[in-house]
């Protein structure tokens, strides 16, 4: 009697473990970062682009409208693809575009902006990539939509037609 109880117990435990692992097999093991996050924006100090002035994050995100924080670099090819969308968005009064020039040389970045025009209201410099890490960014290009000091949406990779429409929907 006791023996029977013991072996059923073991069989049940193995079945449970098997089921858990079997279920685990079907989970996707492709890691996709969350794109909808409700996180506060980080507090940081950064050098303004093409000047020696230091600016605090509170002085950048101080108005009550939407902000688009875009991580870009002149050496990044997909940044050229998303540039027309940023230009279109820069004409919208509901949103202010802030650029983070990621690991770039000032001269190259200037040439880039001269060639493709400048959609950014403010550009800050991130020469060693540490401000990008503060934001939890993966690389270039990456875009954060901010409302009331909170990140409400994040686009990893270039802005495309679809994400452009989504941003427009959010801000209008």
């Amino acid at each position: 009697m006791k023996n029977k109880f013991f072996s059923t117990f073991i069989i049940i435990i193995f079945i449970v473990i098997f089921l858990i692992f079997y279920k685990g097999l079907q989970n996707s093991n492709i890691y996709t970062p969350k794109t909808i996050i409700k996180k506060n924006i980080p507090i940081f100090k950064a050098k303004l682009f093409d000047s020696s002035n230091i600016i605090k994050s509170e002085d950048i995100f101080n108005k009550n409208n939407f902000y688009l924080f875009n991580v870009w670099a002149s050496w990044c090819i997909p940044c050229k693809d998303e540039h027309p969308f940023l230009m279109k968005l820069s004409k919208n009064k509901n949103i202010e575009i802030i650029g983070l020039n990621y690991k770039d040389s000032v001269l190259n970045a200037k040439n880039f902006l001269d060639k493709y025009k400048n959609p950014y209201e403010t550009i800050i410099q991130d020469s060693d990539g540490t401000i990008g890490i503060e934001w939890g960014a993966y690389g270039v290009p990456e875009t954060f939509i901010i409302s009331k000091d909170k990140i409400i949406k994040r686009i990893i990779g270039p802005i495309n037609e679809e994400s452009f429409l989504e941003i427009k929907e959010i801000i209008e």
């Binding site: 013991f6 970062p33 990621y102 990539g129 890490i133 939890g136």
Partner: protein, 122 residues
């Protein structure tokens, strides 16, 4: 006299080497326990991507500020989520992972105990 001077120089040289090596070891240890999120199967230590290099700079900065290893892990976990850590922490979604080996070990022990010891007593 000369020998003493010589010894002092040697002593300092060794000390300098030790202190920088210790710091480097901790740097490397932290970098090895962080997953490079944009690489495939590489740690931050192994990778030379922009992302990994920035993380290494952050680790250096935080260590210079006097932060501990765990504070750095917490900081990065807050920014990128738990996926960045190779060594998952004990928590709501990982308790099974941590307890399962112990559980299996105990079941195995119970089986052996029943098979050999109880039979022998009988």
């Amino acid at each position: 006299m000369k020998l003493i001077k010589y010894l002092i120089v040697v002593f300092f040289l060794f000390n300098f080497n030790l202190s920088s090596a210790e710091n480097n070891n901790l740097n490397n240890k932290i970098a090895k326990n962080l997953r490079c999120l944009i690489c495939q199967g590489q740690s931050v230590y192994d990778s030379d991507s922009q992302f990994a290099n920035s993380i290494k700079i952050i680790i250096n900065k935080k260590l210079d500020e006097g932060q501990t290893e765990n504070q750095i892990y917490d900081f990065l976990e807050g920014k990128y989520g738990e996926w960045i850590l190779y060594d998952p922490k004990f928590g709501k979604s990982t308790y099974f992972l941590w307890l399962l080996p112990v559980l299996i070990f105990m079941i195995g022990g119970a089986i052996l105990f029943k098979l050999f010891i109880i039979k022998k007593i009988k």
